[in-house]
Amino acid sequence: MVREGAGWRDIPRGGLILSPGNAARYVTGDWRTFRPTWHPERCIQCFLCWVYCPDAAIEVKDGKVAGVDYKHCKGCGICATECPDKAHALTMERDEGERGVEV
């Protein structure tokens, strides 16, 4: 990973990026105005939130939906819209936190 402020001698040539997927280290959660809350007790594990999330911010653990990655969730609300009515396991609320990140 290229260090911030690195000089030209210390970075790979030509803009080559050698750390695949390192965007995951970049926080986009502070873009959020509304935050989804996942209610595990209502979740039917249909994975629709996972497949429709633009930000790959639905966490999956041991083959199950396990919550929201608030470090990256931008709060678009697609997951809550697409969560089946019968489950209603994701709800949107105004994000009251600091504009910083709550993980």
Binding site: V2, E4, A6, G7, W8, R9, I11, R13, G14, G15, L16, I17, L18, P20
Partner: protein
């Protein structure tokens, strides 16, 4: 394709290892195509354009006859030719293409991307005038238009030099300190279509010389995925451009090293430029490409009459060997720089601008170093004023330049020296007034 078959037959150049395979008569395009066959790039993506077309055709016949393992991509434009070549090079392939004139102009956007992405692509450019008006014949406006694209440029005087340059270009481009694309320029028709007896190397000598390409990263290595061509904003773009400038600087000694190695396998010596009868000359011309042959002929002729004249023919235009070139010219009284393209700056052609800048830099550098020790101002011409420099734009759109024109240039230089009057700095040679 019977004709191509016959010509392809002449490309078989065999000889004992390490020895030149002997003399064969080839056109410039055939010589380049032969070099490409011997290099055997992994990928060639090319599009036909006069006068480069033969190269594509000959190479296609090598592919069709299974003489190369190259994947030949018959793209639908030069833009795609360079784009596919960039893709192939980023995928770790040794990749080549070739073009001329408007084809090079269509590639323009991607030329910068190839260089900025530091991809070691080699591309023969068969020089031809840019439109408009459309013209298929030789001038240097195409390659000169790309002179600031961070491509290394090697220029060729004849088919022999074109052949030798293409082979050397591979090693230069792929050198770890360089990693820049290389353009090998040869004059359209004058070199590309004229038959010449030249010395070619046996296939295995060329293969040995270029070696196998081992890229340090590749799109095709699933174990180590890479991202090529990111969005690079004000926080790092400048650093990447600085690297590029450094790579071009580092190319100068690499080009010399490769030329030395090449001399050991070919017996032919190449420098950054060829200084011909320059040591004791009072006046000289500086000229790129095939016109240097005409200049050489006239220099010999005038020398027989006791005139102290010489020639400087750059082979390497990017990086520009400015200081060395200025050293070589510094002792002269007057120099004419011949440009086969106009920059339309009203200040002369591109070779003239570079030459004058180099002379000025040398003079200023000497002034700045005045009291800095014994090494200051030790070059030829020390203490003498810089040569008077004049520029002749010539040969646009394939207009012939003959010995008479060249004699006129030397006469003008003699007059300039005699009278001390430079006259017009920028002149048009061989145009009807």
């Amino acid at each position: 394709m019977a004709q191509t078959e016959t010509k392809a037959g002449r490309f078989t150049a065999r000889g004992p290892k390490g020895r030149p395979a002997g003399r064969v008569a080839l056109t410039g395009n055939e010589a380049v195509a032969l070099a490409m066959r011997q290099i055997e790039p992994d990928v060639v993506a090319a599009y036909p354009i006069t006068p480069q077309t033969d190269i594509v055709q000959y190479f296609s016949s090598f592919v069709a006859d299974g003489r190369v393992a190259t994947e030949f991509v018959t793209v639908e434009s030069e833009h795609s030719a360079m784009s596919a070549t960039v893709g192939a090079a980023a995928a770790g392939a040794r990749a080549m293409t070739a073009t001329s004139a408007n084809g090079l102009a269509l590639m323009w956007e991607v030329l910068y991307i190839a260089a900025g992405s530091r991809l070691p692509i080699v591309m023969p450019v068969v020089n031809r005038a840019l439109s408009a008006p459309i013209n298929i014949h030789c001038d240097h406006s195409d390659a000169m238009g790309a002179r600031d694209s961070a491509w290394i440029q090697l220029w060729s005087e004849d088919a022999q030099e074109a052949y030798d340059n293409v082979i050397q270009a591979v090693r230069i481009a792929e050198h770890p300190d360089v990693h820049l694309p290389v353009m090998v320029c040869l004059d359209g028709f004058i070199i590309s279509h004229a038959l010449m007896n030249l010395e070619v190397l046996p296939d295995e000598v060329v293969k040995d010389f270029v070696g196998s390409y081992r890229p340090d990263s590749s799109l095709l290595d699933p174990e180590r995925p890479i991202t090529v061509g990111p969005l690079d904003l004000y926080d790092f773009y400048f650093e990447h451009k600085r690297q590029q400038a450094e790579a071009m600087r580092a190319a100068a000694p690499v080009i010399r090293e490769v030329a030395e190695d090449y001399e050991t396998v070919s017996g032919r010596r190449y420098g950054d430029f060829d200084a011909y009868r320059l040591e004791d000359a009072h006046t000289a011309v500086v000229v790129l490409g095939s016109a240097a042959g005409t200049a050489r002929f006239v220099v010999d002729e005038l020398r027989r009459d006791g005139r102290r004249v010489g020639l400087l023919k750059p082979r390497v235009f990017r990086p520009f060997p400015g200081l060395e070139l200025a050293d070589a010219l510094a002792g002269l009284d007057a120099v004419a720089v011949l440009d086969r393209s106009d920059s339309f700056s009203t200040m002369g052609g591109p070779l003239f601008a570079e030459t004058r800048a180099a002379l000025y830099q040398r003079a200023v550098g000497r002034a700045n170093r005045k009291d800095s020790g014994p090494s200051s101002g030790s070059g030829p011409g020390n203490g003498r004023p810089l040569p008077i420099t004049v520029n002749f734009i010539y040969g646009l759109g394939g207009r012939d330049i003959d010995p008479g024109d060249m004699r006129a240039v030397f006469s003008r230089l003699a007059r300039v020296v005699e009278t001390g009057d430079t006259g017009d700095v920028v002149n048009y040679l061989g145009v009807r007034e």
